[in-house]
């Protein structure tokens, strides 16, 4: 089993689909040369430059072009270089990609994959560091996946491209160079299901994307204290695998959700709402969210560091939830 970086794994999934299916095309700024991070590097050379289409800086229109191409039977993969710029493509993504299957009464399909790169890494400041995935929970017709590791990145990319719906594939810049083993030919369908990464009995910690790492580290550290933490990688945000969470909470009676997006209106809110709805009577303490403070992303190192949740904050939340009891 080869070891790949997260970035290479994205490419591996993409390339596998592109080799298989000549209707898969890539659109994006500078993608022919690999983009600023190199994800699409070498694809044009292997499969022809017509398959990897450099675009002008016109996010909204490029999204529309990809949707139109999808309506005509291609399976485009469009790259938005930073999720911050998806703000320029919201009309096409929300009003057209997500809705046309429904609005047409099923006549149309939009098999589109939107690659976006998100998150805090490298002091890039408020216009290149956001995590905006939760907006898209509120857009019926879109699916949203968010891999936390190379194997999932590879598999979810394959799943996303094969899906007949628009799928937002959210990459975390801070994970690009993390390495792990990736089964050749993909590790099987990863979409639609959360993954239980570590089983435990005292507290469930559900995390997304880069936050899975501090969740695991926290579980490790807490194990030393005799606290048994179950770690769940949400992986798919839409559809959200509530069943796995509820099953876990029935066992642990406590839940903490960890994400890098700001707390208010984040994915943690939907998770909390759904889990309390289905498992309130199993809960021994309130569901807590460990997330960024409600602020834009600052640039300076001490601020950026403070912004991003870390292992310590997860540990503290676990202690808090274990200490919590009726007033």
């Amino acid at each position: 089993m080869p070891e790949l970086s997260y970035l290479e794994a994205i490419r591996s999934g993409l390339l596998a689909e592109m080799r298989d299916d000549p209707s898969v095309y890539v659109f994006g700024e500078d993608v022919a040369l690999g983009g600023p991070f190199g994800v699409t590097q070498g694809i044009a050379e292997e499969l022809g430059s017509h398959r990897v289409v450099n675009t002008p800086i016109s996010e909204g229109t490029v999204m529309g072009v990809a949707i139109g191409a999808a309506l005509s039977g291609l399976r485009p993969v469009v790259e938005i270089m930073f999720v911050d710029f998806i703000t320029l493509a919201m009309d096409q993504l929300v009003n057209h990609a997500a809705k046309l299957h429904y609005m047409s009464g099923g006549q149309l399909r939009v098999p589109l994959t939107v690659r976006v790169q998100c998150g805090v890494q490298g002091n890039m400041g408020a216009h290149h560091s956001q995590s905006l995935e939760s907006w898209f929970l509120h857009v019926p017709g879109l699916k949203v996946v968010m891999p936390s590791n190379p194997a999932d990145a590879d598999s979810l990319m394959r799943d996303a491209i094969r899906d007949d719906n628009p799928v937002l594939f959210v990459e975390h810049r801070g994970l690009y160079f993390t390495r792990a083993e990736v089964p050749e030919g993909g590790s099987g369908r990863a979409m639609d299901r959360a993954a239980v990464l570590r089983s435990g009995t005292d507290v469930t910690v559900a995390a997304v994307s880069r936050m899975v790492a501090p969740a695991r580290e926290a579980a490790e550290a807490l194990a030393a204290e005799g606290i048994s933490v179950e770690v769940v990688d949400l992986r798919s945000l839409v559809p959200l695998d509530v069943e796995t969470l509820v099953n876990s909470v029935r066992k642990t009676s406590r839940l903490i959700v960890v994400h890098e997006a700001v707390e208010q209106g984040g994915v943690g809110a939907e998770v909390a709402a759904r889990v309390q709805e289905q498992a309130l009577y199993y809960l021994d303490s309130p569901i807590l969210r460990v997330a960024a403070p409600n602020a834009p992303v600052p640039c300076a190192p001490p601020l950026e560091n403070f912004f991003v949740p870390d292992k310590e904050r997860v540990v503290a939340a676990v202690h808090r939830t274990l200490a919590s009891q009726p007033a």
């Binding site: 095309y25 017509h50 675009t55 002008p56 016109s58 909204g60 229109t61 490029v62 999204m63 529309g64 072009v65 990809a66 949707i67 139109g68 191409a69 999808a70 309506l71 005509s72 039977g73 291609l74 485009p76 009309d91 096409q92 009003n95 057209h96 046309l100 299957h101 429904y102 609005m103 047409s104 009464g105 099923g106 006549q107 149309l108 399909r109 939009v110 098999p111 019926p140 017709g141 699916k143 007949d164 719906n165």
Partner: protein, 351 residues
Amino acid sequence: MNFDTAWKAGIQGRSGAENMKAAKQGSAKPATRHDDSSELLSLLRHMWVIRAFEEKVSALYAAREIVGLLHLGIGQEAVAVGVCGLLDTDDLVYGGHRSHGHAIAKGADPNRLMAELAGRFTGYCRGKGGSMHIVAAEAGFVTASGVVGGTVPLALGAAFAAREKGAGRVAVVFFGDGAGQTGPFHESLNIASLWQLPVIFVCENNGYAEFTPLSAHTKVERLAQHANTYGIPGATVDGNDILAVRKAMGRAVDNARAGKGPTFVECLTYRLRGHYEGDPGKYRELSQLADWKKKDPIARFTRVLKRRRAASAGDFEKAESDARALVDAAAEFALSSPWPEPEETATQVCA
């Protein structure tokens, strides 16, 4: 393409798409050519179907048999028919909020279209879409949109796919003068020219965006000028003269099919009704309306055909009465169709 086959078939109850398919069997290319009399008469007939359809929609709206936000293209029929008459079924057309006529001209079945406007399950979109969001995939009318300018990028995508497939298909997008000030429109001109896509931009410049005249939206008098900046061939034509539209469109289609890239066809026209049904239209002078009524594209083309002796008085009358009959039947089909079940509300969200 011979509209007449389609027309007669339509009367006989075939779906618009089937009609168009049948009609296009013997489709002669290139699109630029001399039209014979029967072809010209068929253009008139199609304009009448659109006119009759929209007048019926208006009446049904007044009677509250149809609800929603309706934008009629009465007075703009020459653009729809002039453009779509030169396309095949598998050429792909995109429209906007004022697209009943575009869809009909492209071969959409008036029955299913009317049923859609009436919110019935037999409508093209099972009642989920509605007037501003027509999809008639079988006829190659891919989609309209309630977002002004929203379909322009989509049409580029269709053109991109067509080019990659190498089938000689073209994509066409209808939009208004108001859409000409939207960013996506400009981004699209750039990309279409950069990639030399087989897309035809059809701007229906009716002088107004909602209640505001074009002069209050831009200093650019002819939207085709923007195309010129990008090296896209652009023509501004009298949009109430169907033959002028057809001529410009013929060149555009030939160019696109020949791999020579995009064309911009700006059609100067006027909507004879309010922006939406119910709009009191206080922002326009009655005299302006009267002037444009004189330029009604149907009356005008009828005069041309008379002058050319291309048809008899009976033909002209029959064009109108057949259209009214077709549309009455469509209304009856629609209003006697079942409503969608409420539970349909949450189906088809994902494919």
